[in-house]
Every structure is written in structure tokens, then in C-alpha cells.
Subunit: 250 residues, 2 copies
DNA sequence: ATCGCCAGTTGACGCATGTCAATCCCCGCC
DNA sequence: GGCGGGGATTGACATGCGTCAACTGGCGAT
């Protein structure tokens, strides 16, 4: 093989300008806040969004009880959010990927109420919340889109409640895999082959299962020819079969 | 018994004026949207909020898939919201009481995504959403308060995820009772004695348990002297004992 | 006031998932 | 490239909750 050229990013001199997010240029705009803004509005948004911030794998973007200042659009990477109850139990409340918004839990109390931890080296665009509210008062489209984003988060959580309240282990894991698949797909990645960024324990916490149950269920899916799984690498062989699993009996 | 006097409501001539909500007069304002508004802003809000609507016990305030037009402030009464998955499973996603806001799940898709059903005869104040957004652009306080309400709903659902994901049956029911107690208390009702508006089945759906388990756990709590329960009437005898239950081991 | 029905209670039993433990095997670090 | 450790797998066993079923009793309709 011939040596591949250096990644483009390394050839561009790093200035505040290149570090600065330009929403108007961002290929995630359909997933993030700027959806449906005019050219002019989009450029106003560029001023709102702060300089991109790198979060190394394993470190916190924010912690519960910290002062809430901004929400964050994920530019690249992968996060988990979790809640630690007073008695120490951990519940993973979600996994977030590029184009999704983090931190809306902090608005109500002006303090974050959960932890956000990068599961791989990531970049986020901080959106100072007070300024977002100001700008929302000028740009109705932005206001409305932000409301939609928050509402969708509520609806997503309803889905998790259905999962945790009514589904059996197999169904939970099938739903989880199909959800990841759909989200990777809509970002232009292969929907049927991906690397899990989280451990079995984190999957288990999210799905209300113990890690051994997650592991066993993965193995069963593999034996049944639904997926092939090797550590964190997953290939979905029979998506329809997984879907069928979710609506069996009951 | 002597015949009781007619209910007061029937003695007042029904006019648009009496049916109309006056947020500026409402004793629920601390719980609902108008928190922190000036006198002038409050009166603008009075124009926003539509005529109060009565919802009879057992009937729907809205249904999943219906067009979303408004959110609803509960003036009086008690509701449940539920999601029916494609395969028919029902998950109760919440119980709502006076001063709480219903319908924010519909903003994202412009269609409601769950059902809201009155568990007793109730009254709601419809808040046309497009007009709420308009007014939010004029009144920053209102905008901010609405964002807080949505954020708190997200945080509430995180709490439910912790409950469903990590707690055992006893802990779930204890958490449920203490939550109801706190909410009744903050509305001026006796925190330690109340009527459940929902069935064992609905409690079970909310808590991810079968109705038999709910019933058995109630009985166990009674045997242990934590509560006294007779059908839908509950008295909390030992709140501290219930709290301790929730943080035992783990 | 009475009846019928639906909600609730209680018991017996089974199963899905948790618990505990041993072993394996990547992955990243030096 | 080798080594160490944490993540993953797998097995044996335990148990909490679900399932099925019988029975009770309040409440609302008439």
C-alpha cells in the first residue's frame, strides 16, 4: 500500500476561525438546531455557538450538580448520560451521537442533573443557553426548532419507559440494536455493521439488565443467526428477525 | 338526610366570563406557567389561555396521533398518560395533577404521541401552542419558565428510568407513594392520607410490575406497619420507613 | 336497597433474570 | 512484541416476580 495522505485537518493551520464552529457550514445541520433557518439567520447562529470543545474519551462533558450554562450540540463522537441515585445506583439514561443535543436536563434547576461522559474522543459545540433564549426571541424558527428538540427528548424517554416497563431481555436488546442501527444509518454510516462504543455493563444499565444477561442475549442472537458479534463489533444479519422479536406474543 | 344544596357551580349563571380561566386569579400559578410574571404580563397571559374545558372521568383529553394544537394546564383533577406500542403493550408514562402541564410530547411531531385520560372529572386550561410561542418571544420570563417546565419533565422521566431500571418491587412502590405524598402535600392536601385515583393495574403499568405484585406489596407494607391501605384509600404511617426501604443495600 | 361486575386479594407454582464464580481474551501500554 | 488488566463469556444455582386461578368485596347502576 502507498502511504495515505495526511488527514485534511492537519494541513489547515489551526486558528480560532477553524476551531470555531460554523453552523452554516456544518453537515449536521439537519440533525441539530439550524434546521430550516434562512441564510441570514444561520449566520446569526454562527455567532451564538461557542468555540468547539474537545472532550477526551472517558472524561466528563459535565457533571450532575454543576452550574448549568449551556447546552451542547455533538459535532463528533459518542456520549453516555447517567444519573447516580443517592444510594449509588447508576442508571444510564441515554447514548448520544453526532448531531444530537446534550444538557437540556439542566434548564429546570439551573444545575445539571446528570453526568455526560464521552465514550470516545469527541467534539461538542457549546450553545450558551441565555443567548439561545435571546436569539429564540428574535428568530421564531429557531425557537420552534428548539422546542421540537426538547419535545423529542421527552418522547424518546417515553420509548425507554416502554422498553424498561414492558419488554423482556431479548426484546430490549433487539430494540436497542435496531435503534443504534437506524441512527448510524441516518448519519451515513453502515446501518448493519458498527462498533459499540459502550461496555456490556453500560448497555445493561441502560436496558435495566445485568451485564451477564446482555452478554448471554448477544450470544443467543448470534446462535440464532440474527447478528454476528465479536466483542464490540456488531453486524446485523437479519434486521427483520430482530424486529419480529420485538412484537412477539403479548 | 336532608337534601344537600345544589353544587355552587350550578347556581352561577354560565357565561364565557366564568368559564374563562383567569391566570392572574388562579391559585395554581406557582405550579403552572405564570410563575414570576409581572401584573401586566399576567394579564396578557389571560388572553392566551383558552376557555377552561371539562374532561369527564374516563375520557380522553387527547389521543396519540391526533393533531397537536395546544398544551394543557390542569386546573383540577387527575390524569394518566400512556403509550400504546404497536404490538399493543400499554405503558403508563405518568400521573398528572392540578398545576401540571400536559401535552408537551406533541410538539416534536405536531401530533400527540401518547394518550391523556382523566382519572377523575377534571378541568384543563388549553394553551394554544403557536400563541404560546408568539408570546414567549415577547415575554422572556414566560419563555424561560416554559423551558424550565419542559426540562423538569425530562428530569422527571430520568427518575422513572432509575426506578424502572434499578429498583425492586418494594422500592418502586415506596418511591411511588412518597412521590404522590410529596405532590399532594405541596398542593395543600394531607401528604400522608389520600385516595389513589388509579387502579392497581395502572400503578403496575407505571412501575413496570404486574397488578398482583402491586397488590401483594401493598399488603406487605401494611403488615410491616408502613402504611394502611384499604382499596384506594392510603395512609402513610411511617414515611421514614418507606424512605429507608428505597436506599436499602445495593 | 339490591344486584352484578370489575377491581382487588391471596395462594401455588414456574421461569426469566440475577448472583456468584471461573475462565477467556482483547486492547492498550510499555 | 509481550504483558497485564479489565471487559466479556459461560456455567451453576438462587430468587423475585410473573402467571394462573380462585375467591372476595366495593361501588355504581338501576
Amino acid at each position: 500500500m502507498t502511504p495515505s495522505p495526511k488527514p485534511v485537518a492537519q494541513m489547515i493551520p489551526i486558528t480560532t476561525h477553524t476551531l470555531k464552529v460554523a453552523c452554516s457550514q456544518c453537515n449536521l445541520r439537519e440533525l441539530c438546531l439550524p434546521l430550516g433557518l434562512s441564510e441570514h439567520e444561520m449566520h446569526k447562529l454562527d455567532d451564538l455557538v461557542g468555540a468547539r470543545r474537545r472532550i477526551k474519551r472517558g472524561t466528563h462533558l459535565y457533571r450532575a450538580a454543576e452550574q448549568f450554562e449551556a447546552i451542547f450540540a455533538i459535532r463528533s463522537g459518542f456520549f453516555k448520560t447517567d444519573v447516580i441515585a443517592e444510594d449509588g445506583r447508576e442508571q444510564v439514561t441515554g447514548f448520544q451521537m453526532a448531531g444530537e443535543i446534550l444538557g437540556m436536563d439542566g434548564i429546570g434547576t439551573e444545575h445539571h442533573t446528570c453526568n455526560a461522559i464521552a465514550l470516545e474522543d469527541s467534539e461538542v459545540c457549546p450553545i450558551p443557553f441565555a443567548r439561545l433564549e435571546d436569539m429564540s426571541r428574535e428568530i421564531g424558527t429557531l425557537q420552534h426548532h428548539f422546542h421540537k428538540v426538547m419535545s423529542r427528548e421527552i418522547v424518546r424517554e417515553h420509548g425507554v419507559m416502554v422498553l424498561l416497563g414492558t419488554m423482556r431481555a431479548e426484546e430490549r436488546l433487539a430494540a436497542f440494536l435496531l435503534n443504534l442501527s437506524q441512527r448510524f444509518g441516518s448519519r451515513g454510516y453502515a446501518p448493519n455493521e458498527f462498533h459499540l462504543r459502550m461496555t456490556r455493563d453500560e448497555i445493561g444499565s441502560y436496558l435495566g439488565l445485568k451485564l451477564e444477561t446482555v452478554s448471554r442475549t448477544f450470544s443467543r442472537f448470534q446462535d440464532d443467526g440474527l447478528i454476528s458479534v465479536q466483542q464490540k463489533h456488531v453486524r446485523i444479519i437479519d434486521p427483520a428477525g430482530l424486529k419480529k422479536l420485538m412484537s412477539r406474543n403479548c
